[in-house]
């Protein structure tokens, strides 16, 4: 943004009063204040409804756990946006697809006993190990078939979004055709008891596993982006694709890795979300809104921002269910997103535009 300061009589540079107010209103600090006010509002609303501090705390913990799963999806959305400059509306359905391919593998493997205290057996881990690279390659294949011709044609950015919308519905129809419209579980009929973590906060061991694995994967992505050559190449391409290309970076390799990471994390996120809640053909479509809310909150294209955004959205989503109908959870994510778009569209970590 160009400098809006004006020269005063005393020779100093100042903002006009209105512009100063605007600068404050769109600052990062103010965005945090808005978020803090939102949480404060939640707590007051919960008090008014007579929700105990204890159950608020456990909703907070549950939100953090949910944030881990959301982060896996959100990082993929934001990486694809950073490198390929496209909003991928098929990302949620990629998560669904990964979850169901995982179900297929679990069905094919001989059933083992649950790995106490978790509710899943070794098959789930094997399925995860197969599905993550498989879906990563699969999304790269789809990119080559659909998005590459569009890139070569230099199509408008919005055509990519439309192709991804068609892809989203196509993937979901495959899930419907092969698995039907009903919800299901990885282990139908297996009890998933919750244990007390601390101060009356009860969680299922599975959920701790989910958060742990999500953190491991996120740290892995961090190391890959920061410490490896391909990570550097990806960041360079995200910053300036043309400059990256002329400096000898192999764009196709960068695109391959973007989909491997983005698609793979989406598949992992889908399987973990399905393990926590249930498998449903629409689960990914419903997650799309919280995912994009996280990504926009944390600045489109910023992987660490997406991570922070995912945890904030997860917590806000869960805590809000203390006092409003929980089916509006997606609506809360949407509300946060609209707030961000009004106050600071570039997100928490974006520079001034």
């Amino acid at each position: 943004m160009h400098d809006k300061r004006v020269l005063q009589d005393d020779g100093t540079l100042h903002l006009r009063p209105g512009e100063r107010a605007r600068a404050i209103l769109t600052s990062r600090a103010f965005m945090f204040v808005v978020l803090a006010l939102l949480v404060l509002g939640f707590i007051i609303a919960a008090q008014a409804k007579g929700v105990s501090a204890n159950s608020l705390l456990s909703l907070f913990v549950r939100g953090t756990l949910l944030g881990g799963t959301l982060a896996l999806g959100a990082i993929g959305v934001t990486l694809v946006f950073a490198v390929l400059k496209m909003a991928n509306f098929a990302h949620g359905d990629t998560m669904t697809f990964g979850a169901y391919i995982g179900l297929l593998i679990i069905m094919l493997l001989p059933k083992g006993p649950p790995l106490a205290p978790f509710s899943f057996g070794y098959e789930f881990l094997v399925a995860l190990l197969i599905v993550v690279p498989l879906i990563g390659l699969f999304t790269f294949g789809l990119d080559q078939a659909l998005f590459r011709p569009l890139r070569n044609r230099r199509a408008q950015p919005i055509m990519f979004a439309m192709a991804s919308l068609g892809l989203a519905f196509g993937l979901r129809s495959l899930v419907y055709i092969f698995w039907g419209a009903d919800f299901t579980f990885y282990y139908v009929g297996r009890a998933r008891p919750a244990v007390e973590l601390f101060a009356g906060v009860r969680v299922r061991p599975d959920q701790l596993f989910i958060l742990g694995l999500a953190i491991v994967l996120i740290v892995g992505v961090y190391l890959l982006l920061e410490r490896t050559k391909i990570g550097k190449a990806m960041r360079a391409t995200a910053d300036n694709p043309d400059l990256a290309r002329v400096s000898g970076i192999d764009t196709n390799r960068v695109i391959l890795w973007t989909w491997l990471i983005g698609g793979g994390l989406a598949a992992a996120g889908g399987m973990l979300y399905a393990l926590d809640v249930q498998l449903r053909p629409e689960m990914g479509w419903w997650l799309l809104l919280p995912l994009f809310a996280s990504v926009i909150l944390g600045t489109l294209g910023n992987a660490y921002g997406a991570l922070a955004g995912a945890f904030i959205i997860g917590i806000v989503w869960q805590v809000s269910s203390a006092f409003i109908n929980p089916t509006y959870g997606h609506g809360i994510a949407f509300l946060v997103m609209v707030l961000v778009l009004l106050v600071r569209p570039q997100g928490l970590f974006g520079g001034r535009k």
């Binding site: 919005i158 809104l289 609506g331």
Partner: protein, 398 residues
């Protein structure tokens, strides 16, 4: 020719007349309309006589539904085709229009019904007031969602419209006081229903006599004429608007935002106007839908029927071309209905592959439609009827 055939043909002649008069390349207006009415009525009589009654009602309801989708597709064409706004929450405006029109035209439930049906209001107003209200409320919703998003990159609008569509659906699913919650809102009045029953009090006797042979199950013949008239009116207004300076400015905003701004066009205002106008038309489409199906609930407005099909319609027909938008609606609705027959015919084969498959037939159609959209985006981005270069208002249209 029985009086029934004549009554049905007269109603079916309305859409045929409007289509023919649009396509006939004759300058003299009176001659064009005379010819179109003759052709329309002739074709309608021939079809009613030749095609068996069941087939004819199917064709009528087909034209009717495709016509309603054509209204939605026209609305999307204003937003996407002319201005390049990526709205993937059509379902929001579709639903809000349908529910608004329903709440404005129904009567408040009384007696025992009051405990079964809860609704915010029931004004008992006529059909056209319902349609106008549907358009207005949908327009207000568009303004609210456009305000924070239209000044940003296109992707933000897209994701915000997904959000608003989900929100509208959730609200109509959960809020019983608003429009009977998860239960359907029933008893939405059908305009001119009396014509297919005991006759309308307010119409002159000879009109009632003319339509007297119609029975309530012939109602789609009446509604198809109403839908055709609304669609035609919207089409003419849009054609006129798009040839006006306003239409040129919209396309300028779509093509080169910077140069439009440099020429003194208020880009943000034009984007907002286009978004609201498109939403108003979608709201009217929702109203038309509600009065046809009589009973609506949140499930009617899912992302597939409420948004995705309409996108495929516009993309196939040709974005930026109003005739393309209408043609696309008919072709895609034809494919959608036709594949339903195909899947039914394939039932034994599907059952042989897996016992679950026949019941999942609709999803095979969804897969097909998704592939169709991808095919269009990749190989035919201009659609069947590409956008025409409209430089200025034709002399004869003015």
């Amino acid at each position: 020719m029985t009086p029934l055939v004549i009554a049905k043909s007269a109603l079916l002649a309305v859409p045929l007349w409007l289509v023919t008069s649009t396509l006939l390349p004759i300058k003299a207006s009176w001659l064009k309309h005379l010819l179109s009415i003759v052709i329309g009525f002739g074709v309608a009589v021939a079809a009613t006589l030749v095609v068996p009654t069941g087939g004819m009602s199917y064709i009528t309801t087909f034209i009717l539904m495709a016509g309603i989708y054509a209204v939605l597709s026209l609305g999307l064409n204003v937003q996407w085709g002319y201005t390049g706004l990526f709205n993937i929450g059509i379902a929001a405006f579709f639903a809000i229009g349908a529910f608004t029109s329903a709440l404005v035209t129904t009567n408040m439930p009384t007696g025992a019904n009051a405990s079964f049906t809860k609704q915010l209001m029931g004004l008992g107003m006529p059909f056209w007031v319902g349609l106008v209200a549907a358009g207005i409320v949908a327009g207000i919703l568009a303004w609210l969602i456009g305000k924070p998003t239209l000044r940003l990159r296109d992707d933000y609008l897209a994701i915000a419209t997904i959000g608003i569509a989900e929100m509208v659906r959730l609200v109509f699913q959960n809020e019983r006081w608003l429009a009977n919650g998860p239960q359907p809102l029933r008893g939405i009045p059908q305009p001119l229903q009396c014509l297919a029953g005991n006759g309308c009090d307010w119409l002159p006797g000879f009109v009632n006599d003319f339509f007297a042979p119609l029975t309530p199950r012939d109602y789609p013949y009446i509604y198809v004429a109403i839908v055709a008239l609304v669609l035609f009116l919207l089409y003419r207004v849009l054609e006129r608007a798009i040839r006006s300076p306003w239409g040129r400015a919209l396309r300028a905003v779509r093509e080169e935002e910077a140069s439009a701004a440099m020429n003194g066009k208020d880009v943000a205002a034009f984007r907002m106007q286009s978004f609201v106008v498109g939403a108003v038309i979608m709201g009217i489409g929702g109203g038309l839908y509600a009065h046809y199906v009589v009973s609506i609930d949140y499930g009617h407005f899912d992302p597939l029927y409420g948004t995705f099909l309409i996108w495929v319609m516009l993309m196939l027909g040709g974005s930026g071309n109003n005739r393309g938008a209408i043609l696309g609606a008919f072709v895609v609705w034809g494919i959608w209905s036709g594949t339903s027959f195909a899947v039914d015919a394939l039932r034994p084969t599907l059952a042989a592959i897996s016992p679950d498959l026949p019941s999942r037939g609709p999803y095979i159609r969804l897969l097909f439609i998704s592939i169709l959209l991808l095919f269009i985006v990749l190989y035919r981005p201009k659609g069947l009827l590409p956008e025409e270069k409209v430089v200025s208002l034709d002399r004869d249209l003015a």
